[in-house]
Symmetry: C2
Subunit: 148 residues, 2 copies
């Protein structure tokens, strides 16, 4: 997310419409916040940003919409090692899964792509007989600047 400006804005709306999901002003606001985010946001941050577009939006609507997007596989939910508090973070589900590394000292998050990760997912499906819906690899460590 701190990357990928390759997203068509309104993508979520299209995908949800295709599946016959009713579109509302509140949902448009929330989708827009998530689609245009340049970093990982938690539910509280999404709420605050969405309220700038539609001041009446309630917390419960944000959670319900996040639930909807999760069920439809359009977003991923992350812990990011719960570096501050217990909130979960959200991001558009990328075409290709990526890994999150969090620095336990400075909090920097970096994202990482790897063919090895793709192979590993394939191996799990094959050897465990699971059909994978979501795979989260999150790493805590110390970035080059923070190593003691």
């Amino acid at each position: 997310m701190p990357f990928a400006n390759t997203e068509i804005p309104g993508r979520f709306q299209t995908l949800l419409a295709e599946r016959g999901i009713r579109m509302t002003g509140q949902r448009r606001a929330i989708l827009n916040v998530i689609e245009t985010a340049k970093k990982h946001l938690d539910a509280g941050q999404i709420l605050r940003r969405a309220r700038k577009l539609d001041a009446s939006i309630d917390r419960s609507t944000v959670y319900r919409t996040l639930g909807l997007l999760k069920r439809h596989g359009l977003i991923d939910e992350l812990d990011l090692m719960h570096l501050e508090g217990e909130a979960h973070y959200y991001e558009r589900k990328p075409d290709r899964g990526h890994i999150h590394l969090a620095c336990l000292r400075c909090g920097k998050i970096i994202e990482f792509d790897s063919d090895l990760f793709e192979s590993l997912k394939a191996q799990m499906e094959k050897e465990c007989g699971y059909r994978i819906a979501v795979a989260r690899l999150e790493v805590g460590g110390y970035c080059s600047k923070c190593r003691t």
Copy 2:
């Protein structure tokens, strides 16, 4: 954990003593619960079991002890896809990291070891310049019995 009976009981106590950590009755009870657990436990379950050994233990002591063990790298914290509620789960940190697959329908958790996973961690350390302290790979999907 649903496996690994290869642990020396009292291992945690030794490791903490070596690091000059004060040992108390409450801690002994909690460590004992975690060391002998045959499945992943959340803080509430750990509390209930620990109270059978020392009835006066408080919730906050469990959380403080879990924090201690996490800081010392003796346990891992897991989401297990938050299949029921928002609690986190705990297990002894194994010598070799393993992957958790959760079935989104029946809740079955399976654990999986892979050389690919070890290589991937090595690759991340090398390419990202992070020193990895903890790596969590958690997968949600559908087990062979639950596939539609």
